[in-house]
Symmetry: C2
Subunit: 158 residues, 2 copies
């Protein structure tokens, strides 16, 4: 594995940027609920045993980052639910990766199994090379900074 030391290293890569949006334990647990089909405040709260003010704060942040969107489902009384946006649905692979790691290392008896809906086949997650189709692990993979010179400061970074 190559070692990237400054100044070759990008100042702020996509891992850091992503964690600024979703790097919170409660946030991931809320997203897991969304992938299970949960949409309503009271259901998130009950399923997670989370305090209402913390839940409201995390939902507000996820809406602000365009990961969830609010949709009105009742006019009288006014009630909203939370649905994954395309950006939010695309977090599925991260959620699956976390679950599978937990299955491998934190339990002898995984409580949930994932199967292909069409044929019941087991689901695996792989890194593959688009050129030769090989399955890869970390030792097979090289990192390339894409900026020859240090990138200018990102105005979104604080």
């Amino acid at each position: 594995m190559c070692t990237l030391n400054r100044p070759d290293r990008p100042e702020r890569d996509s891992v850091q940027a992503a964690l600024e949006e979703i790097g919170d334990r409660w946030t991931f647990l809320i997203l897991r609920e969304c992938f299970f089909g949960v949409r309503r405040f009271a259901d998130f709260r009950r399923n997670l045993g989370i305090a209402g003010n913390i839940l409201a704060d995390r939902l507000e942040s996820l809406v602000g980052h365009d990961v969830l969107e609010r949709q009105r489902y009742s006019e009288h009384p006014p009630r909203q639910e939370y649905r994954l946006t395309a950006k939010g649905r695309d977090l599925y692979e991260i959620s699956v990766a976390i679950m599978r790691w937990g299955d491998r290392w934190l339990t002898d008896d995984p409580p949930l199994a994932l199967t292909h809906r069409a044929d019941g086949g087991a689901v695996e997650q792989v890194l593959r090379c688009t050129a030769c189709d090989a399955h890869l692990d970390s030792r097979d993979i090289a990192y390339h900074p894409t900026h020859a010179t240090p990138a200018p400061p990102d105005p979104r970074a604080t």
Copy 2:
């Protein structure tokens, strides 16, 4: 997508268990450094701009969870470095999943590219069915609780 509501839902699934070990923004950034080849306290500290006490706390937790291990690299003066264990190396797919999501949604210009070391091919991460080899997305995947009756409380849960 099926909706899992209690009591069908496992009380504590692997996502929750995993986030109890690694669900912290600094923790993921430290792990990213490890995948870049960083091993020493001073290098983590400089690369991340993290306070020494926070870094020490997170490293201690990662060692306690058997994600990192300490190795002595100097006797005089005594110095230790931090290396990924097998359990820690296995976090690579989560790290890549986070990076790729960030690349897709948080930047127009990803700062790091991943390639297959052997042939330079681009790396992709896919969910595949082990029965039919199809690439899957969340709509193709079903969840199955593996416990017919509610599992007993996990003694590790607090």
